[in-house]
């Protein structure tokens, strides 16, 4: 068994414009996803938008630069994640297909096994 991190990338602008009913509906879909896949879920949360993010970057001088915002500014940003246990990539992909992400998609990253 291996673990996969499922990063939910979505367009924050479109989320901001979405009707409350849409948000409510997507939340229901997440609840359903969690209920369906409970036995293999090892974690997961929705995140506050990147406007609340703080980034720390090590400078060449050795100091730490603190900036307001995401580490890399992109149109689509990580808005939530799940950690899933699966035997292989095929299983992980089958689970990822069930993750609601109406304004973007899901990136599957294998978690490196500690040895």
């Amino acid at each position: 068994m291996a673990q996969y991190l499922m990063l939910i990338y979505e367009d924050e602008a479109r989320w901001a414009e979405a009707a409350p009913e849409t948000a409510e509906q997507v939340m229901k879909q997440h609840e359903q996803f969690v209920a369906t896949h409970k036995p293999i879920l090892r974690g997961g949360h929705a995140l506050q938008p990147t406007s609340t993010a703080t980034s720390l970057r090590r400078e060449r001088s050795g100091g730490l630069a603190v900036t307001d915002g995401a580490f890399v500014e992109t149109k689509e940003a990580v808005g939530g994640y799940y950690v899933v246990e699966a035997a292989d990539l095929d299983e992980a992909m089958a689970v990822a297909k069930d993750i609601p992400a109406p304004f973007g998609g899901v990136e599957i990253r294998p978690v490196r096994e500690s040895s």
Binding site: A2, A87, D88, L89, D90, A92, M93, I108, P110, R112
Partner: protein
């Protein structure tokens, strides 16, 4: 003896490698073991004669080497996780020898996994299924050796680290996964049939590899209509190989080819396969592509071509597999079924298609329609546009000739 080993290399490589991967669960280690077995064959077969089943002999030797390496606990220092594979019945596994499971399908589905980039899938297919060396694979795709080595290493690393499984997909996923495999084989054939660049129109080496792969997949999945259809498509297209270039090295279009020189036995086999595939129910992408090629292969002359039938088939193909390239081919068929003005109208919506901006056949199809309408200055401009994005020398000389013919003399 070298010839016998070379023959076994071409026909048995995938079988031997696939069976060895089962032992090593590491692609590179398995390749090394198989390479080693072929080197041993050269001396052993010279001394003892060619074995009755060269594939079984090579597999036994390669797997013995793999077991040796596994015992030497090199495993602890391995860089990549072991391949994920399905359970295999224990027992005869270690005894090896005559009764070795055919693992080739597993290897095929791993190489052509949709989570790998298409160019990585094609490179792995040539390397792992056809046994080509990295320099040979690099030449096949006209890229540098180090770039190709990096591409193959990266793909192998992803297979191991992301745990792309070494197994046959479950029934529900099978049609999509088979399509992924067939797309790779078709890409190899298309690249060989009309080389994207270079002096030769055809890259025979790639065409032969695509044939080998299509026949291999067909032998492993004999009941699948799409698999049969891809083989048919390759047969029906390749049947024209002797007539595509004139004795002087000029490109000959379908209209100008000597159909008596087409390969009848390939056509017969292809037609038989398409007919059988279509009887199996609603045709999918490759069945329709093969059916389109069959219309040409079966037509006694260019003038007798059933263009209405072709337009209908292209409509079905657009439905099953929407693609701007298919829409372009349909527009060409419309240009013959209903005249060049209708063809031009069908081409119009494709002019802004991003996928076709560097696709020379869009400009050359437009040029031909304009030429037939007598709109010579516009036709000339379109031929020039096609020439600017065409890198195959035989096709370039064809386009240049068209331009010279259309230019007012003097």
């Amino acid at each position: 003896m070298a010839a016998a080993v070379a023959e076994a290399h071409r026909t048995e490589w995938a079988f031997v490698l696939a069976a060895t991967i089962r032992v090593t669960r590491d692609l590179t280690m398995a390749e090394d073991c198989v390479q080693d077995a072929y080197a041993k064959a050269l001396t052993a077969w010279t001394a003892q004669g060619i074995p009755g089943k060269p594939g079984a002999w090579l597999t036994t030797v390669a797997r013995r080497r793999a077991f040796d390496l596994a015992d030497k606990s090199d495993v602890a220092r391995r860089a990549l996780p072991l391949l994920v594979t399905d359970q295999v019945a224990a027992g005869s596994e270690r005894a090896g020898g005559e009764e070795i499971d055919d693992d080739r399908l597993r290897l095929i589905f791993t190489c052509c996994h949709p989570a790998l980039a298409p160019e990585a899938q094609a490179a792995l297919a040539l390397r792992l299924l056809c046994g080509l060396s990295t320099p040979e694979v690099a030449r096949a795709f006209l890229v540098g050796e180090s770039a190709m080595a990096a591409r193959i290493t990266r793909a192998k690393k992803k297979i191991a680290a992301a745990r792309i499984p070494y197994r046959i997909p479950p029934l529900a996923e099978l049609p999509d996964r088979i399509e992924s495999v067939l797309t790779v084989v078709h890409l190899l054939f298309a690249t060989g049939h009309t080389a994207p660049a270079g002096a030769d129109l055809v890259r025979r080496d790639l065409v032969e590899r695509a044939f080998d792969l299509a026949r291999m997949v067909r032998s492993l999945l004999p009941g699948d209509p799409e698999v049969a259809s891809l083989l048919a498509l390759i047969l029906l297209t390749d049947a024209r190989r002797r007539t595509r270039v004139s004795d002087e090295g000029h490109l000959l279009l379908l209209a100008d080819q000597d159909r008596s020189q087409w390969d009848r036995s390939e056509i017969e086999e292809g037609l038989h396969l398409v007919a059988a595939a279509i009887r199996k129910g609603r045709p999918r992408r490759f069945a329709l592509m093969a059916a389109i090629t069959a219309v040409h292969a079966d037509s006694p002359s260019w003038d007798a071509t059933d263009w209405q039938e072709l337009v209908g088939l292209y409509d079905l193909l657009l439905d099953a597999w929407p693609s701007p390239v298919v829409a372009l081919n349909k527009a060409v068929a419309v240009g013959f079924a209903a005249g060049p003005a209708a063809g031009l109208a069908a081409l119009k919506p494709l002019e802004n298609e991003p996928q076709l901006t560097t696709y020379g056949y869009l400009a050359s199809a437009r040029a031909d329609l304009l030429r037939r309408l007598g709109r010579i200055p516009e036709a000339l401009a379109s031929y020039e546009e096609a020439l600017a994005v065409t890198e195959n020398e035989v096709e370039r000389s064809f386009l240049s000739q068209r331009i010279a013919d259309l230019k007012p003399s003097g």
